[in-house]
């Protein structure tokens, strides 16, 4: 009986904590969005964020995508050969990359690269009183630090996903044409014919959602960091974990919404 009560108490506490966290994150996101649309704006901060989140992520996104596309082509070829379906490589690579792997892998790379750096930077600013200093200099940290990063991620991550999609398909194409003996023109034709607008739209929508998740998690954990170096470490770790898990959950949800019929 006692053990059961304890168990229920633990579950209850966990649920309350989770609900509380969801509430705080939602409120934080709402505040971030409200600061994106209200002046004053900080164009220089925004430009920096575009640079850091978008442009500087291109190499890692490109490399991730090209290898994944190539591996996918090899797998589908080998798997398809078991029931004489080798010919579907272009179509499956296209759909696999554009619908799922492109957005998810780009999202996870952004969580690793951008979420962690945002969280570490803001948490360090918090523990060295730089956030307090911002406030005393009449600058709202939500506006100055958070809003530009979230907006930049919202804009650039879909673009990164688009780039990742193209490069991923190109990776499959290279492997298909070079190693698996596909005809180059036919491969491209098959890819283009097979993809529907909804595939591409879903890919970009996922990108935008993942961008918001990744940047909000970095900012949220950074702003709520504890004290000292340990606080910064915890914030960084927590932000990447939360961003990765939320992003995959959101991916599942969005896939359901777009493709369940």
């Amino acid at each position: 009986m006692n053990a059961l009560m304890l168990f229920l108490a633990v579950i209850g506490r966990l649920m309350l904590d989770t609900l509380g966290a969801i509430g705080r994150v939602s409120q934080f996101t709402a505040r971030a969005v409200s600061h994106i649309v209200r002046p004053p704006f900080y164009p220089r901060e925004f430009a920096n964020a575009l640079m850091n989140i978008g442009w500087l992520s291109l190499p890692v996104v490109g490399l991730t995508a090209v290898f994944t596309g190539g591996a996918l082509a090899l797998q589908i070829y080998a798997g398809g050969a078991r029931f004489n379906a080798e010919a579907v490589v272009p179509q499956i690579v296209a759909i696999g990359i554009v619908r799922e792997l492109g957005p998810v892998l780009v999202g996870l790379m952004i969580a690793a690269r951008v979420t962690s750096s945002i969280a570490a930077e803001i948490a360090t600013m918090k523990v060295t009183e730089q956030i307090d200093a911002l406030v005393t200099l009449s600058t709202n940290p939500m506006k100055y630090l958070v809003a530009p990063r979230v907006l930049a991620a919202f804009i650039t991550v879909p673009m990164l996903v688009a780039v990742g999609d193209v490069i991923g398909i190109a990776g499959g194409y290279l492997v298909g044409v070079q190693n698996l003996g596909f005809n180059a023109a036919a491969y491209l034709q098959n890819t283009v014919d097979f993809l529907e607008p909804i595939d591409i739209i879903s890919s970009l929508v996922k990108g935008a959602a993942f961008g918001v998740i990744a940047s909000v998690m970095g900012c949220y954990y950074g702003m709520s960091s504890g004290r000292g170096a340990q606080g910064v470490g915890r914030a960084t770790k927590g932000s990447v974990e939360a961003a990765a898990v939320l992003l995959l959950a959101a991916n599942f949800l969005l896939t359901g919404i777009f493709f369940s019929v």
Binding site: T128, E129, A133, L134, V135, T136, S138, T139
Partner: protein, 248 residues
């Protein structure tokens, strides 16, 4: 100009302020002394609203803090943080001119830079540090950049949290003179935390000693030596023996 009434603040079970009362007249220089960890920095942050106090009231110009326009409220203040709190992504001059580069006090870029370099000179730093990053400066130089930033927009009320800690005696003298000058010439109201008794004598109009979460003694700096208060006496003479325990 600043009045604290019965201010309480605890962090968890750690009762830091237990009913602090303080009154700082306009245009005067108040120095807060007190043992390490007694809550001097916390008191400053409560006035600025960076930390919410649990109980009691704080008034600035007769208006309770936390009510009314926060931007307008903060625009009247300058603050030097104990750790400097410079923005490490921005070069020194942009740190100093931070307020002048955005928001309601925005000036043209060239003018903001000139003001920054002038303020740097006033804290004893040459113009060639203007383009360095804070991480490239020594601790004492960072402190002085923080000081320059606090005074850059010529605020009415300035808080200095240990302005001379980590400075050599000559530079400490320069900073003491500067703070005195800001109060007497610009008519600012200053609140300074320091552990340096020569600074206290150089800067203060009034002194308040914080101990055990309350103001143990307060009065004009001239009365400090004949206060007859055993706590204050022990503190200003730096004696290990006395009512204040050495282990806190």
């Amino acid at each position: 100009m600043i009045r604290m009434e019965n201010v309480h603040k605890a962090f968890g079970s750690n009762q830091v302020l237990r009913g602090m009362d303080l009154n700082i007249p306009r245009g005067s220089s108040m120095v807060i002394i007190g043992g390490s960890g007694t809550g001097k920095s916390v008191a400053l942050k409560c006035i600025l609203g960076l930390i919410q106090h649990d109980e009691g009231k704080i008034f600035v110009d007769g208006k309770e803090t936390g009510t009314g326009d926060r931007d307008a409220f903060l625009a009247r203040f300058g603050m030097l943080f104990q750790g400097g709190a410079l923005f490490d992504s921005l070069p020194v001059w942009q740190n100093v001119a931070f307020r002048l580069l955005r928001g309601s006090l925005m000036r043209p870029l060239e003018e903001a830079r000139e003001i920054a370099i002038d303020k740097l000179r006033r804290v004893g730093l040459r113009a060639n540090v203007a383009d360095l990053l804070p991480a490239e400066l020594s601790g004492g130089m960072q402190k002085r950049v923080g000081l320059a930033r606090a005074i850059a927009a010529e605020p009415e009320i300035i808080f200095f949290d240990e302005p001379t800690t980590g400075l050599d005696p000559i530079m400490a003298g320069v900073i003491n003179d500067l703070i005195r000058e800001i109060v007497t010439e610009m008519g600012a109201t200053a609140m300074t935390i320091t552990h340096d008794m020569s600074s206290v004598r150089a800067i203060a109009d009034n002194v308040a000693m914080l101990h055990d979460g309350v103001i143990q003694w307060t009065g004009p700096v001239g009365d400090m030596d004949q206060s007859g208060d055993p706590y204050l006496d022990q503190f200003i003479h730096g004696r290990a023996e006395g009512p204040i325990e050495a282990v806190r």
